[in-house]
């Protein structure tokens, strides 16, 4: 430990020399690392936004229950009460004929004139039920079995599709994370190995003088960490710029997409990228350092 503290200046100097030794190759490695981390940051950003969207869609998942025509107000209230008691039901509202008409008018917008072709309001009164997406099947079964319910109209296909999208996004996120991790470790460890190869004479001399492999490897560890930390910082800056541009465009053109608060998102992504940089940099460097043992000491 004393050796490490007393030699910190030497280690930094050696790390700098290691990077300088293969400057062009290391520049390419560095650019590769920045791009990979940037892609990773974009995936995390996309993941974050899509998770929020899915969460909102999940919260907005709703079904419509139509009841028999002969029910009076008390029966309807009872029906609503029974539905509210079902696990997985978040909110229950009675939608009157007039409200159903108004909603359709809003949906149709400029085309709403078509509704004037009807002499009477063509819409039925129904119960609007917001449910938990994961409980769709069970909730629908329960509601269909309640006495007085004529039929339930669900968006099961859409809901299933949303669930599918969620799973696909998660899977893609995991695959990209794994790919980024492996690629970064390979790049950094390759860089370290190259540095060790280029410095094999010095390493071998230090070994002959009695230095431990951990002492010999420390500058390479610092070089790897410095490279990836700088890569992480640049990738973070690029991501912040990309988020700013993305937010500007999305909020203008697709206003209904529920974007997370920008500062929160930026903080989240930067923390993940820098943490990943430290972990992957250490992992890659340690992996690369293993080649010191293979050095031709004998």
């Amino acid at each position: 430990m004393k050796s490490v503290l007393f030699n910190m200046g030497y280690f930094l100097k050696e790390a700098y020399k290691t990077i300088r030794l293969n400057l062009l190759s290391n520049i390419f490695s560095f650019i590769g690392t920045v791009l990979i981390l940037f892609i990773f940051a974009l995936v995390i950003t996309g993941w974050n936004v899509s998770n929020r969207l899915v969460l909102m869609l999940k919260e907005e998942a709703e079904i419509s229950a139509y009841y028999e025509e002969n029910l009076d107000e008390i029966d309807k209230d009872n029906l609503i009460g029974l539905i509210e008691e079902i696990d997985g039901v978040l909110e229950v509202n009675l939608v009157s004929q007039a409200e159903a008409y108004n909603r359709m008018e809003n949906v149709l917008g400029n085309e709403a004139g078509i509704l004037e072709l009807f002499e009477e309001n063509p819409f039925e009164e129904y119960i609007e039920i917001r449910i938990h997406l994961d409980e769709t099947e069970r909730v629908i079964d329960r509601i269909e079995n309640i006495e007085g319910i004529e039929y339930v109209r669900d968006n099961r296909e859409i809901l299933n599709r949303i669930e599918g999208i969620v799973k696909t996004l998660n899977m893609a996120g995991y695959i990209v994370t794994a790919a980024v991790g492996i690629t970064t470790i390979i790049i950094i460890s390759h860089m370290i190995r190259q540095g060790i190869y280029e410095n094999r004479f010095q390493i071998n001399t230090l070994q002959l003088l009695g230095a431990s492999n951990s002492f010999i490897g420390f500058p390479f560890l610092i070089a790897g960490l410095l490279m990836i930390l700088c890569g992480g910082i640049i990738a973070s800056v690029l991501t912040v710029i990309a988020i700013n541009i993305g937010f500007g465009q999305l909020s203008g053109t697709i206003p209904f997409i529920p974007l997370p608060p920008k500062n929160e998102l930026v903080k989240h992504v930067v923390v993940i990228i820098m943490t990943a940089s430290i972990i992957l940099g250490s992992g890659g460097s340690i992996f690369g350092l293993s080649s010191i043992k293979e050095d031709a000491e004998r």
């Binding site: 004479f201 002959l208 009695g210 230095a211 431990s212 002492f215």
Partner: protein, 224 residues
């Protein structure tokens, strides 16, 4: 200090470099190992440095057994050895001072102590005035002096010099041998391999070991 009993060294390719070597070297001895090229001088030093392990027999250096399973301890053992190599093994792109400091960097010296001890070592080898020179700008004789300074800064119990005069002109070779032999004291033994026997004829109190064909063919001398 050094005890070798029936040591044989056979390389992976099947070449036997040393055969049934027996040797005892005590503290404070000056030992010259001579012999023609390829006789096994360097292989003997490799054994003593723990760079190679005996295929047969036993090698003990400063009480440490030289064997594959002792790899870590051998690395620590080297901290008590001052190696001087024929090709100097000085690191280019570094100054003479930085090269000397490299010998003690991992021994827990404070930066201040490291620098002052390194300057002292350079002074001992007569090179203090060139402490800030890059080693590539030094002559071969000066590089060898830097390597010797790097070896002695550790105040080792054993100095192992492998053909230290091999690349030097006559004047420099004599001067380096004088320097190395002067490092011997009650605590420090100095082992020097050389094929230039004409340079060591007048050495007193030295042990002369001749190796040929991987075997010790002659051993004579010693302290009076």
């Amino acid at each position: 200090m050094i005890r070798i009993e029936g040591a044989t060294l056979t390389y992976k390719d099947g070449t036997t470099a040393l055969k049934d070597i027996n040797l005892n070297i005590g503290a404070g001895e000056l030992v010259y190992i001579t012999g023609p090229s390829g006789s096994g001088k360097t292989s003997l030093l490799k054994l003593l440095m723990g760079v190679e392990y005996p295929s047969e027999g036993e090698v003990l250096v400063l009480g440490q057994k030289i064997a594959k399973e002792e790899k870590r301890r051998i690395r620590r053992l080297r901290r008590n050895i001052g190696p001087v190599f024929q090709d100097f093994r000085v690191i280019k792109g570094r100054t003479a001072l930085e090269n000397v400091m490299m010998g003690v960097r991992f021994l827990g010296f404070s930066p201040k102590k490291m620098k002052s001890e390194s300057l002292n070592a350079l002074e001992k080898v007569g090179l203090k005035h060139k402490y800030s020179s890059l080693v590539e700008n030094l002559s071969w004789g000066e590089c060898q002096r830097v390597a010797i300074a790097r070896a002695i800064i550790r105040k080792p119990a054993l100095i192992l010099a492998d053909e230290p005069t091999g690349n030097l002109d006559l004047d420099n070779a004599v001067s380096i041998l004088e320097l190395l032999s002067s490092l011997r004291d009650d605590k420090t033994s100095v082992l020097i391999t050389t094929h230039a026997t004409h340079l060591i004829d007048n050495q007193k109190d030295a042990v002369f070991i001749r190796i040929n064909g991987g075997r010790i063919t002659m051993e004579q001398g010693g302290r009076a």
